[in-house]
Symmetry: C2
Subunit: 254 residues, 2 copies
Amino acid sequence: MTNPTAAIIVIGDEILSGRTKDKNIGWLAEQLNSQGIQLREARVIPDIRETIIETVKTMSAAHDLVFTSGGIGPTHDDITTECIAAAFGKKVIRHPEAEARLLAHYENTGLEFNAARQKMADIPEAAALIDNPLSAAPGFILENVHVFAGVPSIMQAMFEGLRDSLPGGVAMTRLTVQCAIGEGTIASIMESVQAAHEGVSIGSYPWFKPGQFGTAAVVSGLDQQVTHAAAEALAAGVREMGADAEIMPLGEGG
Amino acid sequence: MTNPTAAIIVIGDEILSGRTKDKNIGWLAEQLNSQGIQLREARVIPDIRETIIETVKTMSAAHDLVFTSGGIGPTHDDITTECIAAAFGKKVIRHPEAEARLLAHYENTGLEFNAARQKMADIPEAAALIDNPLSAAPGFILENVHVFAGVPSIMQAMFEGLRDSLPGGVAMTRLTVQCAIGEGTIASIMESVQAAHEGVSIGSYPWFKPGQFGTAAVVSGLDQQVTHAAAEALAAGVREMGADAEIMPLGEGG
C-alpha cells in the first residue's frame, strides 16, 4: 500500500528576504506525516505571478496533495488566488458564502468592508471553501490544491478544520534509537541494518551537548513489525560495541 | 545594476518528516539579502539521488549562486557530495587536504578515523574546500554551488568563512512603515505608492496584539532615495487617514 504524497508551497517575498521566518513547513510536515501523508517536497517562492502558476502546476501534477500558504489577504501583493485559478484555467468569482462570512466579520469588528477586503471573497469557480475561524477570510480547495493563509495561527486553524477529510494512509512507524556513540562509529551498522530490513529507512542525526555526544538514529517504515525489528537489530549492534542504545518513540530522542 | 540571484536547497528527510525544523533557510535568507544577493527560491528535498541531482542542475542553471545544506556527514544517508559531483559530471576523489584536516581532528578527539569518517574527505574533483572550524569535515564549492553541512551552527560557521568572497551587489534599502491601521484599510494607498515609485516594492504584513492591530508595510528597492521617498509617501497617506505611521529600518517594526 502506498501512502498519498504531498508538497508544500510557501508563497511570499517576506520569507525569501529573511524578514519572516517560515513556521508553516515544519508544522505541516509534522501533521501530514503523523496521519500517513508523505511530504515529498517543499518550496518557498516569491510573489511573482508566473512562478506561482508554474510551481502550482508542477507540484499538482507530481503529488497527490498540494498545500500552499500565503498571499490570500486584501492587499496588492496578495495574488495567490488569481494564480491558482489561472493554473487550472478557472475564473475567479465573487463567492456569495465567502462574502457573507466576511460581511458578518467586518460588521462585528466595526471595520469598513471596502474594496480591498471584498477581494478576499473572490474565489476560483468550482473551488470549495476552507473555514477560517480566526479572521473569516476563507481558504479554498481547487483540484488537489489546498490554499491556506500565511499567518501560522490562521494556517493551523484552517488545517485542523479539514484534517479529517484528507485522504489518509497507514501512518509510518518511526522509532528513535538513541545511541551514546558517534554516528561515524556506527555508520556501517546502520547501513547493514537498513539493507537487511525491506522498506525500512534509517536516518542518522548526530547531537552534541557539553561533554557528551551521540546519534539519534530514526528508523522508519510502513510495516510496524519490520520497523521494530530493525530498531532492535540496530540497538543490539550498538550495544555490542559497548555503547548504550535505547529505543523510543519519535520525538523523545532529541 | 542587477544583483546576483541565489537559491537554497535544503537536503534531508528529517525536515520533510517534521522531525527537525529547518533553521537554515531563514538564517541564510537574511545574510544573503543583507549583502545584496537576492534569494529567489528555496527548496526542501528528500535524500533521493535523482531528486538531488535534478534539483541541483535546475537551480544551478537558473541562479547565479546556489547554497545547499545537509547530507555531507559520514553515514549511508549522506549522499549530497556524490550527487553534486554527478550533477556536473565530475568524479569524487579522496581530497588530501580534507583528509589531513579530518585526521588531525580525530587524533585530537580520540575517535577512530574509520572508513565512514574517511568518506567525509571525499570531494568532487575541481571543487574548492569550505572551512569547517567546528567539526573539521569541510564543505565545498563546485561551479556555482556552495555545499554546507546541515547542522545550523556548522552551516553558519561555514558561511561566515566565505562571506567576503561571495559576489555582492548593492544592498537593497528596506524600510518598515509601521502603521496603526488594518492592511485592508490602506491597501489602495500601498498599491498606488508602489505604482508611483519605479523599482520599489511594498510588502504588507498585518499584525495582531491583544487589543491592537496594525500593518507593517515593508518598502524595498535598490535605489535608496526612491525607496525613502516611497516610504515617506506611504506614511503621509496613512497619516491623512488619521492613523499613526512611523518609518524605521527593517527588523525593528515587528
